[in-house]
């Protein structure tokens, strides 16, 4: 009797134990999860805005990790000791980067962060209640456009990339192979062309800064142009950006880059910063202090190359002065030339960038708030001119080229032969977009990196190997963890 009871008890306790689920169901009091998130349109919007925020980390990370690879390898910029003494930065302009190098690794990671966020929204948006169809379609278009933009940034930096077009919903779906360059461009083109018509031309004032249909089209045109064999499509797309939207060149070049005209009609898309604190928020970068001369408290991590300075001096304006853009781009000392910075004459013997050096205050407080422009109207004009020239329609290109020249105070170009127009477009792109993360990628698609770096006496000219250093190798963090991708044998 006794032992039988013990056995009964023993069993009953173990059965009773099954009733504790309430006690064990605990919710995270801090974060929501996939089950209780996606409640309404606000959730969709907040998640969508994260895509933009992911592209703009604060402080030094921005110029070292995100902007560095775009600016340090062109013939417009000369990296200096303060940049080169950091291993991970130096590896980029010296072309000594290995797959473990953090700068390309961070670009790769961050772009796929943006893409991953986009894919989540696309996966869940149809289940969100209380949204009308137009809103759903607009969000979908915004998300797809941003996803395509991230793929485009990856394609500029890496020879081959992974097309990530869906949210992996299980451990077995995490690894995707590399795609061909052509296939990846096709994906970017498809996404942007489908998204553009569904996006607003302009957002309301309180939503300014989100991607518009004009931006999607401008990047679509860029995607055609970068492929080299889609000049006709590029031409049509850029023409539509010009015809269907209100973009125009800003009269004052310099104010595009010092934060004083962030709503200029020239700006098509930008990565945004602000001095606004909104209680806890705070979004600044260190571009000003990184640019500015060490004579006056700057870090002086790079300076305008001599080649850029000479190119500016090559041609004077119609009234015999320096190119108007020169004053908005660089700070230098020269007899009989008034170079004014922040209300005072610039006296240092060291030449530095003025572009994105918004004020002395930005230098001394190490905080820059100016938006970093990734697409503006001048770019559309020059890319259209290029697309026409490459189709042997140089004469048609010249009027667009002249718009850019005239804003700089230069005369009309005059010549219409393909060689001259092509050369002038390339020169104008140098002068127009110095320090804007365009030049190296331009040189790559024109196939003249080695030549131009040599001419500009860039520190990496000797190390650059044609066919190898145009693109970063797929980072180690990817090849280590993705069995479908092998390490780049060239690195």
């Amino acid at each position: 009797m006794k032992y039988k009871n013990i056995v009964c008890l023993w069993i009953s306790v173990f059965l009773l134990g099954l009733g504790c689920d309430d006690y064990l169901d605990l919710n995270d009091p801090t974060n929501l999860n996939a089950d209780n998130y996606w409640r309404n349109e606000a959730d969709v919007k907040n998640t969508a805005l994260a895509m933009y925020a992911m592209l703009t980390p604060g402080s030094w990370r921005y110029h070292e990790y995100y902007i560095g690879p775009g600016i340090l390898r062109g013939d417009d910029v000369l990296p200096l000791y303060e940049a080169l003494r950091w291993d991970y930065i130096a590896a980029v302009p010296y072309f000594s980067n290995r797959p473990a190098n953090p700068c390309p690794d961070i670009i790769w990671n961050k772009m796929y962060d943006v893409i991953g966020q986009a894919n989540q929204i696309l996966r869940y948006i149809d289940g969100v209640t209380g949204m009308d169809e137009a809103a759903v379609n607009r969000y979908k278009a915004e998300v797809r456009a941003m996803r395509a933009y991230a793929h485009y940034e990856l394609l500029r930096n890496f020879r081959q990339i992974v097309i990530a077009d869906s949210d992996p919903d299980g451990l077995d779906k995490l690894n995707r192979p590399l795609s061909s360059r052509e296939g990846s461009w096709n994906f970017v083109v498809r996404e942007l062309s489908e998204a553009a018509p569904l996006l607003p031309k302009k957002w309301s004032d309180d939503q300014y800064g989100r991607i518009t249909s004009g931006a999607a089209k401008a990047f679509l045109g860029t995607a055609y142009l970068y492929q080299g064999n889609k000049m006709k499509e590029a031409e049509q797309t850029f023409k539509s950006v010009i015809a269907d939207y209100d973009y125009e060149l800003d009269d004052e070049f310099a104010r595009l880059f010092d934060g004083s005209k962030e709503t200029s009609n020239e700006i098509i898309f930008a990565q945004r910063f602000t001095a606004d604190k909104n209680g806890t928020g705070y979004k600044y970068n260190n571009m000003a202090v990184a640019n500015y001369t060490s004579d006056d408290g700057g870090w002086y991590m790079w300076r305008p190359s001599d080649f850029l300075m000479e190119s500016f001096r090559e041609e004077k304006t119609t009234d015999g002065k320096y190119d108007k853009r020169m004053f908005g781009t660089v700070l230098w000392s020269e007899e009989n030339v008034d170079v004014v910075f922040d209300g005072e004459p610039y006296t240092s013997s060291k030449t530095c960038f003025r572009k994105y050096t918004e004020s002395k205050q930005a230098v001394s407080s190490m905080t820059s708030y100016a938006d970093y422009i990734t697409m503006r109207y001048a770019d559309v004009l020059l890319m259209l001119a290029e697309a026409l020239t490459e189709q042997n329609k140089a004469p048609e290109a010249v009027p667009y080229l002249d718009q850019v020249r005239e804003r700089a105070g230069l005369s009309k170009f005059g010549k219409t032969d393909t060689e001259s127009v092509r050369a002038e477009i390339r020169r104008q792109r140098l002068l127009e977009f110095a320090l804007e993360s365009k030049r190296f990628y331009d040189l790559v698609r024109w196939g003249i990196v080695k030549e131009q770096l040599t001419e500009a006496k860039h520190i990496g000219a000797a190390a650059f190997v044609k066919g190898k250093h145009e693109y970063f190798p797929v980072p180690l963090s990817e090849t280590n963890n993705n069995p479908k991708i092998d390490p780049d044998p060239n690195f």
Partner: protein, 1033 residues
């Protein structure tokens, strides 16, 4: 928050309570008459034995201990009761009480305490009855030690247990039982007086005994949290019917680093630096005109020489007829080996016991406070400063020297920055016993642990570096508050029955646990919207309000974890020869989804006391012999965060905000990168243990040999995923791993007239192998070091985190050697390192493709040692006692990251080199060296390779102690029982080839199980000299 859960919690307890009533009802008839027994226990010289254990054989857990006068008093039931009296170092006596009520018991000394009672989970067991692997830390040993924390008590006292300590004040040592049980790492579970508690907050002077449950059969009763072993700690208790006893101890000591990297002086640095540039063909641009050239030994500048420590502890214990108490209070003050770095600790504990009839209650309370003054720089920072920089420099804004390279003046960091923390810990425990029947007892225990932490950091505007951090321009203040509340409750029944030669123990119980944590943090930066200094109108202000008008960034979160468990154990012994134990435990954890919440963890073990067989009587040399074996399954969920299964959507912080709209209105977007993972389930460790315990020549030589194999399956670990997935690294049940080895313990004791000595050695072999990952080809790389990739790799068939490295092959002595270092590719000789120069490091192109890359990296060793051994000698002669304790490991490697950094060639820029690097580098006049030529930017010479992989083996005298107890005749005159004076030294000498800070690297520094054995610059280990006094009256 605890209010909400109480009703539900009770339900588990109420259930058990009801069961007990049920139990009582049908066995009430078996009640017998109670009876009081008194007695006195003495040794062979009729001296009273204090603290001897006295209990009724049929109910071992209802025993008592003798008082200081050797007397005891006990309730027995029934006249057939058998009284068992045992005492450490004496033979256990069993006697039938019969009709006697007063007993005089004399114990004979014995060499081995085999019948000693051992605390096992939820009860006690005779050591001779154990069928599982339990290691005991000798109580006598503990009394002699003067250590700052409980974990240090375990150091080398038991085979297969390794403890590594940093010299930082208040540092918590790392304890590993039998290797790496889980890829997710894991410290053992500490159970203090029956309740899982944090051992960090326990004063080691309060500890009475320590036991370590090593195998699953022993630990399974603690189920889910026992996978890395269980450490059972019993604190000092008072004894009933004894007058107050006072134990006082105090010690003083000084501590210095065992080893510091010697750095180059200014002359050597300048010569090295010149070579660094010239060898690279770069113009030498160090401009020293007008500069103040110093010759600073930065490590010396921040070092606190002879760091002082002091410790006081007093214990008052005693008891009346029905109650006993033990009160203790302690103070510990310890300076760090860096200036402005110190720790103070205050502890307080009251353990009480109250008895009435069949009830006994044992409430206890302990309070602990720690005040930390944290170091605001490190020896590593000091190593990175150039010797030519002066400590103080009037030409700099704040008067502190800096320059030439990045890096903040460490002396300035110490003097201008304040970082402090205080921890308050309160622990309340209640244990209640009720003897329902002679052989049935109910025990209930509850515990509350409350921890409050307050951390504080501040600095004024300052300039201590060439490129100061942005925040250095402003006042900064951080307040960091956290609270932790752990609740534990458990109830269990013990039933014991003896029938002729059969003995049966059954235990059955349940428990719950609730762990809650909440943190709030605010940081203020004294600047206004335009970046101008503001706030802190009171510049010495140290509170949040003093910084009104500053920019603030608050953060905070809360987590909660709950467990519910049911467990049972059955022990059966026949004729003291055949032993059997089975346990089963069911656990549920709130970390898992509904479907995977419960885990069932069984174990079974058996033993054969061969020595008690009659046929062994003919083998007198064997005093005892036991064979035992066990099998068990343990669960683990500790590597998981409270909500790890959720795909979180979280609001960003100020760094992730984004401005929207023409007026740049900042929004905080919502991020979501996680995979929802409801399929997470318990990690399981399947453990097999086989052992022999033996004693020869009346236990003069005794020991045990054990073989163990533990396979951990479904290891819960963060799986590194490809970034292109767009996902955070999720926790998954990743793979399997196996640990196997032999544990050996051998002790020899001898008594020659007044000389009493024992020599004891432990040895444990360890073989670790990853047996399964997501797929057999998967290679999990360790963390990146200096952007050069990782040095460790975890893959199937190898030990976890094995080193995979390029093979360095000496130094090129001339161009001819460079040109002849070729691989044959398609029949053509391709130079492997065409750009190398004489003085550069040569690497092997193992796959012969003419390139040096990942494919040339091969297995080069591992951090987990093959062998852990220790050796101790204890001797006493009349009033003197001496103990020495040695510890060592062999067969392991450490990657010396510190050397990579201090050779001065790892980066593209100028660096401070070590003395050796600056004076012994390769040059045409110094070719007999293993250091390459310095050449800026030639990072090939600093590639990860076997050049930095060093033998991590060591042999060290961990502790030596010499004590002298004042003779008794002297003591009697001053009415004192015992006075012992001692001197002791830690880490007196170390034999090792490792050149980094210390071979006992604390693996928690390396953060991840994929990256074991990285010798980063660390807080050095301390060589400590202590003298102390122990006093009892």
């Amino acid at each position: 928050m605890n209010l909400q859960i109480k009703p539900r919690k009770q339900s588990a307890l109420v259930r058990i309570g009801l069961l007990c009533l049920f139990f009582c009802a049908w066995s009430a008839a078996a009640r017998a008459q109670a009876k009081q027994v008194r007695g006195m226990v003495t040794d062979e010289d009729n001296e009273p034995l204090a603290g001897a254990s006295v209990y009724i054989k049929s109910n071992p857990s209802a025993g008592t201990l003798t008082g200081a006068d050797g007397k005891f008093q006990l309730q027995t039931e029934g006249e057939n009761a058998v009284l068992v009296v045992s005492y450490v170092g004496y033979k256990t006596v069993e006697l039938e009480i019969g009709s006697r009520s007063v007993l005089a018991i004399q114990l004979a000394e014995k060499v081995m305490e085999l019948d000693e009672l051992v605390v096992v989970g939820y009860g006690m067991q005779k050591k001779s009855d154990l069928t599982s692997s339990v290691a005991l830390v000798d109580a006598g040993e503990i009394k002699k030690l003067s250590v700052p924390n409980v974990a240090s008590l375990l150091q080398g006292r038991a085979s297969g247990v390794i403890v590594t300590t940093s010299g930082e004040p208040g540092a918590s040592p790392n304890v590993v039982v039998r290797g790496l049980s889980s890829l997710g790492g894991g410290a053992p579970l500490y159970v203090i007086d029956g309740v899982p508690s944090n051992s960090y907050y326990l004063d080691p002077d309060d500890v009475e005994s320590v036991e370590i449950l090593k195998d699953a059969a022993a630990a399974a009763i603690y189920g889910t949290r026992a996978a890395s072993g269980v450490v059972l700690i019993t604190t000092k208790k008072g004894q009933r019917d004894s007058k107050m006893k006072v134990d006082f101890s105090s010690s003083f000591g000084v501590q210095n680093p065992t080893h510091l990297q010697e750095m180059a002086n200014s002359i050597d640095f300048l010569a090295f630096d010149k070579a660094l540039y010239e060898n690279a063909g770069k113009p030498y641009e160090l401009d020293l005109t007008g500069a103040k050239i110093a010759d600073t030994d930065w490590q010396d500048e921040i070092r606190n020489k002879n760091a002082f420590q002091q410790k006081y502890n007093i214990v008052l214990s005693g008891g009346g007829k029905n109650s006993a108490y033990s009160f203790s209070a302690g103070v510990l003050g310890q300076e760090g080996m860096i200036k402005e770095n110190a720790m103070k600790r205050y502890s307080f504990r009251l353990n009480t016991d109250f008895h009435r009839g069949k009830f006994s209650f044992s409430p206890s309370i302990s309070y602990f406070r720690q005040e930390d003054e944290y170091e605001t720089t490190s020896f590593n920072e000091a190593q990175r400063m150039l010797p030519i920089v002066p400590v103080y420099d009037d030409s700099r804004p704040d008067g502190y020297g800096y320059g030439y390279i990045s890096g903040s003046n460490p002396v300035g960091d110490l003097e201008l920055k304040t970082s402090e923390g205080t921890t308050d810990y309160l622990n309340l425990k209640l244990k209640a016993d009720y003897s329902i029947l002679d052989d049935l007892k109910l025990t209930a225990r509850g515990g509350v642990e409350k921890t409050d932490y307050f951390g504080y950091y501040r600095h004024a505007p300052h300039q201590l570096a060439l490129q100061p951090e942005r925040e250095d321009n402003y006042h900064v203040l951080e307040d960091n508050n956290s609270k932790r509340l752990n609740l534990v409750g458990e109830a269990f029944l013990n039933y014991t029955k003896e029938l002729q030669e059969h003995r049966l123990d059954v235990m059955l119980g349940g428990s719950f646990e609730d762990r809650w944590y909440r943190r709030a943090y605010v940081k203020l930066v004294g600047e206004d919207d335009d970046g101008n200094p503001s706030g802190f109108f009171n510049e010495d202000g140290s509170t949040i309000d003093a910084g009104e008008g500053s920019t603030s960034s608050p953060s905070g979160y809360e987590t909660q974890i709950r467990y519910v468990s049911y467990f049972s154990r059955v022990n059966y012994a026949y004729a003291d020869r055949y032993l059997l134990q089975a346990t089963i435990r069911r656990d549920a954890s709130s970390k898992f989804g509904k479907d995977n919440r419960w885990g069932t963890f069984p174990s079974v073990s058996a033993g054969w006391n061969l020595g008690n067989e009659t046929f062994m009587d003919n083998v007198p040399v064997v005093s005892h012999l036991k064979l035992r074996g066990g099998y068990g399954v343990l669960g683990n969920d500790r590597s998981l965060g409270a909500y790890a299964k959720n795909a979180r959507f979280y609001s960003g912080s100020f760094q992730t905000s984004y401005p929207v709209g023409v007026d740049n209105k900042l929004v905080l977007p919502v991020f979501g990168k996680d995979l929802q993972n409801d399929g997470l389930r318990w990690e399981q460790t399947v453990d097999v243990n086989l052992g022999i315990d033996f004693g020869l020549w009346e236990d003069r030589l005794s020991g045990s040999v054990e073989y163990y194999r533990r396979e951990t399956e479904d290891v819960l670990l963060e799986t590194l995923v490809a970034p292109s997935s767009g996902k955070n690294d999720p926790y998954t049940n990743l793979g399997s791993m196996e640990n196997r080895g032999l544990d050996l313990l051998l002790t020899y004791r001898q008594r020659i007239n007044d000389l009493n000595f024992s020599v004891s050695g432990t040895m444990a072999t360890l073989e670790n192998e990853v047996t399964k990952l997501n797929n057999d080809e998967q290679k999990i790389k360790g963390k990146d070091i200096f952007f050069r990739g990782s040095v460790t790799q975890t893959q199937v068939g190898d030990p976890a985190a094995s080193f995979f490295l390029l093979q360095a092959d000496g130094i090129f002595q001339n161009m001819n050697e460079v040109m002849t270092h070729v691989s044959l590719v398609n029949g053509e000789g391709v130079p492997v390192q065409p750009d190398a120069k004489p003085g550069d490091v040569r690497y092997k192109d193992l796959n012969g493709d003419g390139l040096l890359n990942d494919k040339d990296k091969v297995y080069s060793g591992k951090y987990l040692p093959d062998l852990i051994y220790s050796f101790s000698i204890n001797a006493d002669y009349k009033e003197w006692d001496l103990s020495m304790f040695f510890q060592g490991v062999a067969g392991n490697k450490i990657y010396n990251v510190q050397r990579l950094q201090t050779e001065g060639i790892a980066f593209m820029s100028r660096q401070a080199p070590s003395h050796k690097a600056a004076t012994d580098f390769w040059s045409e006049t110094n070719t007999d060296t293993d250091l390459p030529r310095p050449a800026l930017g030639v990072i090939d010479n600093a590639r990860h390779s076997t050049r930095f992989l060093e033998d991590g083996g060591y042999f060290r005298l961990k502790n030596i102690q010499l004590g002298y107890a004042l003779p008794e005749r002297l003591l009697k005159r001053i009415n004192v029982n015992r006075v012992r004076l001692y001197v002791s030294a830690d880490n007196l000498f170390t034999l090792t080839d490792y050149t980094g800070t210390d071979p006992e690297i604390n693996s928690s520094v390396t953060e991840s199980v994929y990256s074991l054995g990285l010798g980063y610059p660390a807080y050095p280990a301390g060589r400590t000299y202590v003298m102390g006094i122990q006093l009892s009256f």
